[in-house]
Symmetry: C2
Amino acid sequence: MKQHRVTFLPSRRSIEVDEGTSVLEASQRADVFVNNLCGAEGVCGECRVQILKGDFQSSDRLSAFFSQEELDKGYVLACQTKIRGDLEVEIPPESRLEQEQIMIGERRDSAEIQAGTAPQQIPEAPFYAFKPLVRKVYLELPRPTLEDNITDIERVSRELRRKIGWYAFEISLPCLQHLSETLRDTNWKVTATLVKDNGRYRIQRIEPLDTSNKNYGLAVDVGTTTVVAQLVDLRTGKVLGVEGSHNLQAQYGEDVISRMVYACGKGGLNPLHDAVIKNINNLIKSLASTYKTSPLEINAIVAAGNTTMSHFLLGLTPCNIRLEPYVPTADIYPQILAGEIGIEINPRGILETIPSVASYVGGDIVAGIVASGIADHPEIRGLIDIGTNGEIAIGNNEWLVCCSASAGPSFEGGGTRCGMRATRGAIEKVEIVDDRVKYQTIGNAKPLGICGSGLIDCIYELVRNKIIGSDGKFDRSRKDPRLTYEDDVPQYVIAEARETETVEPIVFTEADIGNLIKSKGSIFAAIKALVGYIGLSLDQLETFYVAGGFGNYLNVSKAVAIGLLPDIPKEKIRFIGNSSLTGARLALTSEEALEKCINVSRSMTNIELSNYQPYMDEYIAALFLPHTDRRLFPSVTY
Amino acid sequence: MKQHRVTFLPSRRSIEVDEGTSVLEASQRADVFVNNLCGAEGVCGECRVQILKGDFQSSDRLSAFFSQEELDKGYVLACQTKIRGDLEVEIPPESRLEQEQIMIGERRDSAEIQAGTAPQQIPEAPFYAFKPLVRKVYLELPRPTLEDNITDIERVSRELRRKIGWYAFEISLPCLQHLSETLRDTNWKVTATLVKDNGRYRIQRIEPLDTSNKNYGLAVDVGTTTVVAQLVDLRTGKVLGVEGSHNLQAQYGEDVISRMVYACGKGGLNPLHDAVIKNINNLIKSLASTYKTSPLEINAIVAAGNTTMSHFLLGLTPCNIRLEPYVPTADIYPQILAGEIGIEINPRGILETIPSVASYVGGDIVAGIVASGIADHPEIRGLIDIGTNGEIAIGNNEWLVCCSASAGPSFEGGGTRCGMRATRGAIEKVEIVDDRVKYQTIGNAKPLGICGSGLIDCIYELVRNKIIGSDGKFDRSRKDPRLTYEDDVPQYVIAEARETETVEPIVFTEADIGNLIKSKGSIFAAIKALVGYIGLSLDQLETFYVAGGFGNYLNVSKAVAIGLLPDIPKEKIRFIGNSSLTGARLALTSEEALEKCINVSRSMTNIELSNYQPYMDEYIAALFLPHTDRRLFPSVTY
């Protein structure tokens, strides 16, 4: 078959592909990210690209997505365009996801730190004794004599016991196979690699001489949107560096549900599994190169992710997670050799996956609970992670309950006319004074759309200015040049056409508002129902932690004012950043923390909201701004 | 390089090899067995073959091994002969080892059963509860509902607990990977494979529908000379069949020491490891085909062998076993997947290796102790396995001691002029009345040499007839046509030239007698020293078990009369056949028996005889027939 070279701009990455390949497929194979929400069905219009040069064949449906001017400039949908010759393809900003915009760990970019919205640290973060999952112990052994001729491995074990305590070590076969020569060639000086697995120690490897100064681990947060990894020196627990990348699974669907649909349909599980493994391997290569180590010196990985991501990671079929009665294959995962699933670290290096609780309460939440110390203190605290789902956990050192509520894609920029993810060009802050709109975009770029925190600001500003009512409907009697109508549906112009990158106005419609009210109502109802399930009231929560990327960019007061978060004293609401990653790192560096994760996953009670009538009642009550029962929001003054 | 075809007779097997390959190597690659004691050094003269046709180049040293007549007939040493053209090579009987002559388990050939020398069964064999190492449990699971939506694997575990008891099952990753589909495709009817490993249960595999009627195991005795395997139905514990083959390692050296020398020199460990794996795979194929099952339905193997054989099996370097201070790599071996070392059974099938005690007291002895029940009863009993080494264990349910004494190769047919192994044509029984010698050969063939039991008969008959004295020296004053001299060294003709296959007389020399006295002295001294070490006398042993192939062919009275076995009432001496295999089978079919093996290996005290002065004293005292202290042998009347 004829081959053509496709070059993508601005990165100038190129690849040879067969004639007839779609531009989207070519971009995926070239590792060039192009937005794509619908799984290449040609319906979401997210994969806009501009063909600068070359022969192609595109579908007739383009007119639904592009103006004539754009069509003339060569704009097409990447998924609907087949390659017929060598091409040059520009990925416009709105279709790109740029590396530097991924929130990794507690880091934020300087603009936000200057804006005073940097996340607070976790003040009550528990202390876990430093005892990494994989330890290296240097041993100088006494030579055997006729009086002391125990076996080679027993000699190693005896010295290990002297150094670290009396344990019955399990042994892996490869560590025995050349032990005899290794001990004698090195004059009885070796380094044992010790792995904790399911409550036991295993001698995983015995190397010549002292290599105990080379022992690295990786904590990984496998998020639906991003995959973030921290390289940790397991001698000291010090974090050497952190890197993140967009989850390459996005090419098969934007959210977990669409990826499950892909994996359980014609696509199969492998592409999803392979994508996340590639993510992790790329992060490993990059971190190892930046911090001048070798992937072979990485001996342990702890990964945390939601239940679906953990299934994709381990190659477990996730199909019944999304189908009633929502049954995952497993919630506690075996420790494996990382190489078994294609992760390229030391061949004897291991992978632990933080256990889940239920289909929609995953290891990321378990890790967050351990990182925040909720399960270590008698005070009752809550944790929320808002994304497509809002996962909520409440409890203390004696009990834990959790639930998950579907929030829809609104907070991640989906389901609204001009919504977008929190990347370059997204409006993240909005203020409305009279008919003037002030906004701030990520990277101070020309605006492309509105991300979650910007949308919350919009609603808040509209209701505060009485442009919309508590029911989310526009005041049609209002005279406001920004209040316009399209097919008699009112919408509010946040950025005018001349200000934007795409020269289209950025608007916020009544339908958008309705979707966001449903989303926030769902989250608040879940919080309220869960608190009620335990027989508490909201003011009995000592602290309410907000985890995850979205939380990190949130304005608390506004989130409370629209009725998303409960109206408790502001100092009780704390952002803890990527607590999934923090928890994974704790489990990597402390046996105690990993055991705590397992105990949390085993002991936490999951409330299935789809079954729970009080949740439905709370949901209906929450479909107002801030709420039908204003007594729940005493601090809200509009 | 030029290729030549070599055809071996009588089997007519042939192989293409490069010009210059030795005939021995070619035979090995063609799987044609040719005796070879020295590891292809050209010094033992065992690998005699006859070149019938074709071009070859042989060494000048042949005259030391062959008569001119033989040289004229084309006799050469296979290891010293290079192939220069297509060849036809006859393997003469003395260089062959024939399949049907391997003792497997308790079976003996009909001639011996008629002769009344069939082994006794083990009357006190302990009862171990039937609970095989790998179990298959058929499960019909309730479907999940919203009220009962535990994970798939937990649903399997819960049902397993209901069926077999409350355990925290470990899970292997492959058993999770398609679990979700398997459960749903089969209408929730599956079979779980459960493995016991180091005190825990692991769910190793979950298969569609009911496969619990297909669960086989293999017990293997990895002997230095022979490898014997029993196919066991793990549903019932029933032995379906047993097969044996010569240990293919013999091509690299006859005994363990020469094989260690080979493995630790230029040859390396791999050929030895590969050879025993090939043995086991061949037995598996053959047993599976005979008993109409598939190797894929074999889920567990338990192997017992001496410490060196266990090291070769698992690919552990054995080199320090033979060097002071005699340190093996390990004496307790990890459970592994059989496939990890190339054994071809179910890919998730496991291999357990019975633990050893010390360099020269291996898993075969541990298995023998468990099979004989020594460690289960309060009575003090002994066990001896006589080969190149004599391993001796004494004890009861509270304590166990053991030792190993080097016996030299005499009992296996080495180190004597006309000695040979117990194969077709070997004189296995001798009686001397006046100057008439009556003998019996294995398979009633023309005699080729004398095997161990025949040599013991010879000594006994010579001393009983006063042809030799208690010191093993011939009475030179005796007039006896069978007493001849070679270079003034006396020898006794057991079979005259005209009677034998090789038309050479079979003789028994004064040097042979000296070697045998040393061998039997060494064994008896070890028994005596070990009994003395515990502070007992020989008559306090309630039973004395004789294990292994050699034991099975022994005449007890004669073995006692020459001072090899202690002079205790004959009914106390019991042959238990291949107790290594029996013990391996018990460990395969009973968790309790495997635990007993581990406890025996951990608790048994090994006495290092090379350090132990009383042993040296006993040895000197034992270099007489039957002994310098005749009070120890009151029943001996000559």
